[in-house]
Symmetry: C2
Subunit: 317 residues, 2 copies
């Protein structure tokens, strides 16, 4: 059952696109993580990265690249990098000193299997690997590498993901109004989702030699609309996450359900009520689509971005 | 008292160079950490980064840049970035799930003051900030930015610092021979010290437009010798660290003395004995200087690199 009954149904062509893209991402991720020695750090990194998952961020990278008419090989590096950042954040977030969670993607969390110290180090090494993946010696224009790194580092750091997690941490058991909640989530999850769109678009618009093309992408009229799309999609993702936390069970989610209420965290559902949160998710979804329409991107290249917005509100886990 | 009685005395001109360089680094570090909100993540990042410290890695960056005839403003970004990586690693290393240490640079460790969760998040955000600092929109050639990021990410990750920490963790209470110990330290501390030299040299050899100059630096005959210097200096640093752990008290070190023996960690002193470890440190110091001589770098630009090698073996904390 999806989070919202009025949400659009998944399109079969999109399902095929997703399946094929996820397979490519998983292959590239596995190749990016160096050969595993038993009991070593890279084995822990592999455990934390290769257990499946929705791969929403890499899909956004690839979809944005295709929407701008780019080719996939360059964008795959950015896709792997954003997923490594996301996966490391889950490892650290699940640690006992943070959310203390034992279940993730239907499997025991990394520290449960490999111990807290190795889990923390693996997360640290995954963040470093993300930036290493973005900066190969050849094949990607240095200007694109530098812009990717700047974009991802900002989205992952104090003004993005880590900063949002800190705000989250400081508000357990405290009240937060809707604006405060949206700000927290904009940082905690929104920045990395938006960066995924941005990095894919940068790849789509740059050729292998190309500073000029890159600059033109960010300066084009399409850019602010594309960033709006990323922001609304990020917000929709989080509202739906809060809805799923109260409407689904742990086995469907692959993680512990009902955590938010149990830990007394403010959520869109606790602030608005379930029905209003569902209506809000649909409203934000419509805004994401409107922002995408304003980009005037040619079809069929732009279709995956549109379908991913559908997927975010219609998902069941 | 210095670690090794036969070590060269500090040169007054070098002391002045160090004092001036440390002041510039501290200023740049403070500027890189965004404005602090009370109780927020950036306050924790500042606590973890701005408590002083030897700043050896930033000094190596600046010294290598000067040795190659470069100017300081570009190198300062690299200096700040390596120090942020080093400082974050200390925060994570001190956490209860790792070394569980309460004293660092004479102050309570970050998690003692700000809690474990905020300490971990601050470390994560400091790593991201390091890469953000390396990739400004203007002022540094994109090719240099990309090479810096690749170099730092590799040195910080699974094949460098984090990988060395994992090996260290897996060998507490276990035996490790000299080759194994050197490999562990080469990763844990050596890679980042060597990367500091490399990043400074890259900055010294690149002008603001410059891919050609950068490529020439890495391809020049000087490069392998400079990397040898970095490797020997890193090893000397660690041997001296192990010596200081048994010869100095906590107040001199600014961190808990005698930790290695108490936690049954293999060290150069436990494997070789104190006198042999001291002789070994001087031997490695001589090798670092020989590697530097082989670079045939012009004086006075190359002097700080030479003096930093002296400083590493003659330090008392």
């Amino acid at each position: 059952m999806s989070a919202i009954s009025a949400a659009p149904l998944p399109d079969p062509a999109h399902t095929r696109w997703v399946d094929e893209a996820v397979a490519r991402v998983d292959e590239a991720l596995a190749a990016a993580i160096p050969p595993r020695g038993a009991g070593g750090l890279t084995e822990v990194m592999a455990y934390a990265s290769l257990q499946g998952g929705k791969r929403l961020r890499p899909l956004l990278v690839l979809a944005a690249c295709e929407a701008l008419g780019g080719s996939r090989p360059a964008a795959l590096r950015a896709a792997v990098a954003v997923e490594l950042i996301h996966a490391y954040s889950l490892v650290h977030d699940d640690l006992p000193c943070m959310d203390d969670d034992v279940l993730r993607r239907g499997q025991p969390t990394t520290h449960v299997v490999h111990g807290e110290a190795m889990a923390m180090l693996a997360g640290d090494a995954m963040q470093a690997l993300a930036f290493e993946v973005l900066t190969p010696e050849t094949g990607i224009a240095p200007a694109l590498q530098a812009r990717w790194v700047a974009c991802l580092a900002r989205a992952a750091g104090h003004a993005g993901m880590a900063g949002g997690q800190a705000i989250d941490l400081m508000h357990v058991g405290k009240s937060l109004d809707l604006a405060g909640l949206e700000h927290m989530h904009a940082l905690k999850t929104g920045c990395l989702l938006q960066a995924s769109v941005a990095m894919g678009a940068m790849a789509g618009d740059a050729d292998s030699s190309g500073q000029h093309q890159l600059a033109s992408c960010v300066d084009q009229p399409v850019w602010p609309h594309l960033m709006d799309y990323g922001r609304w999609l990020g917000l929709a993702f989080q509202v739906v996450d809060d809805i799923l936390d109260v409407t689904q069970d742990s086995s469907t989610l692959g993680k512990t359900a009902g955590k938010d209420e149990a830990s007394n965290k403010p959520t869109f559902v606790s602030l608005m009520g379930l029905a209003a949160a569902q209506a809000y998710a649909l409203d934000i979804h419509a805004r994401a689509l409107a922002a995408l329409d304003a980009c005037h991107l040619p079809l069929p290249g732009a279709r995956p971005l549109r379908d991913l917005a559908h997927q975010v509100v219609s998902r069941s886990h």
